[in-house]
């Protein structure tokens, strides 16, 4: 069901139908979601849509992203697919917000195709690796450990993001579980085994302005990575660290991200 006030359309990529959500008016702002993707429109998106025309294409294999991830074997496949997706969603040349894995893809898109991205807001992006402070492993957790790994409000996170919505039939709950699992699978298809994919060697190609946003309490990618990113980027950078927020900045501090 499409959330109230949100328009939903779909675009075809690789023969799969991919969901694109849209809300608000003004200059377009693309949003690429983080790990787990978006089951529903969120207060974080609403905060962005208060000022901008927010366009949210689903990432391959994420909720709304079909089985497109199954076609993607290499980083080149993922970047090609991201460029296709941005074009199809009407985001060619737009400003982009990318969170977590979406941040990695937004940064890669900017590095490979400067004209595609006007400016970037990267929220706790994947992509770099500091062996003295390695990213946490989100793929090897027991179910009861996930909420606290992602959020500084684990009880609410568990209820909102990790539990099927109330009132679902058993069949709907099975499908909900499948969709959630698929999103994790898709993320691991790109990220596992969590080593560097080469972004470090391409950061200098990102010449647009970049805002780096991090939750101070991020337990997956430590906030120290903000400086690591900033030191490699070629354009102007700004860092915003949000106290009290974890990796799920969009959940923990939905109104805090300043564009």
């Amino acid at each position: 069901m499409t959330p109230a006030g949100v328009t939903e359309r779909s675009v075809r990529i690789g023969g799969e139908s991919i969901r694109v959500w849209e809300k608000g008016t003004g200059t377009p702002l693309g949003v690429l979601a983080g790990l787990g993707g978006l089951n529903e429109w969120t207060p974080f998106l609403d905060a962005l849509a208060a000022k901008r025309r927010v366009i949210v294409p689903s990432l391959p294999g994420f909720p709304g992203g079909g089985l497109l991830h199954k076609q993607l074997d290499t980083l080149a496949d993922w970047i090609t697919c991201t460029l296709d997706l941005l074009e199809a969603a009407g985001l060619d040349g737009a400003e982009l917000v990318g969170h977590s894995i979406g941040g990695l893809l937004a940064a890669e898109a900017a590095a490979f195709s400067r004209a595609t991205v006007k400016s970037l807001v990267l929220i706790a992006p994947f992509g770099l690796y500091d062996e003295n402070d390695p990213p946490g492993d989100p793929f090897n957790r027991r179910a009861n450990e996930l909420a606290a790994l992602f959020s500084t409000k684990p009880d609410e996170f568990q209820k909102t993001r990790l539990t099927p919505p109330a009132g679902q039939t058993p069949d709907e709950q099975i499908e909900w579980t499948i969709v959630q699992t698929r999103a994790v699978e898709s993320a691991s298809r790109l990220l596992w085994p969590l080593g560097e994919l080469g972004l470090k060697k391409r950061l200098h190609r990102i010449t647009c302005s970049v805002k780096l946003v991090w939750g101070a309490e991020d337990r997956i990618i430590p906030a120290s990575y903000a400086k690591r990113f900033a030191s490699g980027l070629a354009g102007g950078t700004e860092i915003q660290v949000i106290p009290g927020a974890g990796h799920a900045v969009d959940f923990d501090a939905p109104g805090a991200v300043k564009l």
């Binding site: 199954k70 793929f139 027991r142 099975i174 699992t181 699978e185």
Partner: protein
């Protein structure tokens, strides 16, 4: 029927407080617990046990592959199999197996298995497991979302490498090789029999049926839980129009035999508890990375009571190890006198319709003397009661076809000076 002797090669010296002080026997097991000098003794004892099993008449000896695992000390089963190829004469050498996606390029498996088949004179059974999530995803860094596709491509490549006489190019999704020309080739034509160790996934059953391979259900939880899986397997074979030849199927079973049940309960308590407590102390976080199981399997798992029961049993082991009484009552280990064990195993084989029965007669911290005793008593007093089962009605089309005995080389005895 075929009676095979399977060795996991467990490290036998994990401390008594292992499950309290350590999170997992697998993946991130504390390597400070590993004593190479003790492992020297273990490996040699284990290889003695395998050789003894072959010598005393088991139809085959089985080895398998695990990584970073204290209950499975064989990262490379092919190394042990190579030694067995020289030190045994007639037994099948069943490598269960090589996890195809872990080899780069996978033609390495075609080469090593062909070497084993040549050295042994055609006694190899080629096992191709996908591999557990612990071994493949976490220890070997394989992508859980690509593992099965990679596995299937590697399988196709190995088969072509064995059967294609001309040098060929392979332009696969995961492997590109300009010149494939595996040398040596296996003795057995068109290739050694293929057995697929698997869990309860319906895709694996269908694939085994399509390829005409043996499906081997390697569960540690005995025939009572295994029955439901094997029922599922056979009803799928019925649906696909395949015959009920019991040699299509393999099953793994722990056994402890002694003169009396009372004696057996005393003798096998410690090694059984050691295995089901310390060896199966696997941290649940390694067990199920997203993408490892297909969506169809996840759906079936959530929906099916059968598999839910099996999952629950696995969880029980992961979180609260079973008592010895449970181990025996639930049939994880079949314990008793030779006649009692023979009776139960006959029931197991007939009820599950399994012709390739793989026995674990050494497990946990069982000492060599007891392993020999168990093996000898089984061979002399249990096996004769089971051997003829299925043989009159069915042909085992999945058994190695070695060179004639008189054409096989005899290794020169080594004189230690």
């Amino acid at each position: 029927m075929k009676l095979l002797w399977f060795h996991l090669m467990p490290y036998t010296d994990l401390p008594g407080d292992f499950t309290k002080k350590h999170a997992s026997v697998w993946v991130d097991i504390d390597s400070r617990l590993f004593d190479p000098a003790k492992a020297h003794g273990m490996y040699n004892d284990f290889m003695d046990e395998l050789e003894f099993a072959a010598e005393i008449g088991f139809d085959g000896v089985c080895v398998n592959e695990h990584h970073q695992n204290a209950y499975g000390l064989m990262p490379s089963p092919n190394i042990v199999a190579a030694s067995l190829a020289r030190r045994t004469r007639d037994a099948a050498i069943v490598v269960m197996g090589n996890s195809l996606a872990l080899y780069n390029p996978p033609t390495r498996v075609a080469e090593e298995f062909a070497m084993l088949d040549c050295i042994s004179g055609g006694r190899l059974v080629a096992g191709f497991p996908v591999g557990t999530p612990m071994d493949t995803v976490f220890c070997y860094g394989q992508n859980p979302s690509q593992l099965r596709e990679k596995y299937l491509e590697a399988h196709d490549l190995v088969m072509k490498a064995w059967t294609e006489p001309d040098t060929f190019a392979w332009n696969g999704r995961f492997n590109q090789l300009r010149y494939v020309n595996t040398w040596p080739k296996p003795v057995q034509k068109p290739h050694p029999p293929v057995w697929i160790p698997g869990g309860g996934s319906i895709e694996t059953w269908r694939w085994c049926a399509e390829m005409d391979y043996v499906y081997a259900y390697l569960s540690y939880f005995g025939y009572k839980l295994g029955q439901a899986t094997m029922d599922g397997f056979w009803s799928e074979m019925d649906r696909l129009g395949k015959d009920r030849n019991p040699f299509r199927a393999g099953f793994l079973q722990f056994v402890g035999v002694a003169e009396t049940r009372k004696e057996a309960l005393e003798m096998y308590r410690e090694p059984a508890e050691y295995f089901f407590n310390r060896c199966l102390h696997v941290d649940a976080r390694w067990a199920n990375p997203a993408g490892y199981s297909s969506e169809a399997t996840i759906r079936a798992r959530v929906a099916s009571q059968v598999v839910a029961a099996a999952t629950k049993a696995t969880d029980a082991v992961a979180y609260g190890p079973p008592s010895f009484e449970e181990i025996v009552d639930k049939g994880y280990v079949i314990i008793g006198s030779p006649d009692e064990v023979a009776y139960q195993l006959r029931e197991v084989a007939v009820n599950m319709n399994v012709g390739q029965l793989m026995m674990l007669l050494q497990y946990g911290n069982m000492k060599k003397e007891l392993a020999f005793y168990n093996t000898e008593l089984f061979a002399k007093r249990v096996a004769p009661q089971l051997k003829s089962l299925f043989e009159d009605k069915w042909e085992d089309r999945w058994w190695p076809k070695p060179l004639p005995r008189e054409d096989r080389s005899t290794p020169r005895p080594v004189v230690v000076r």
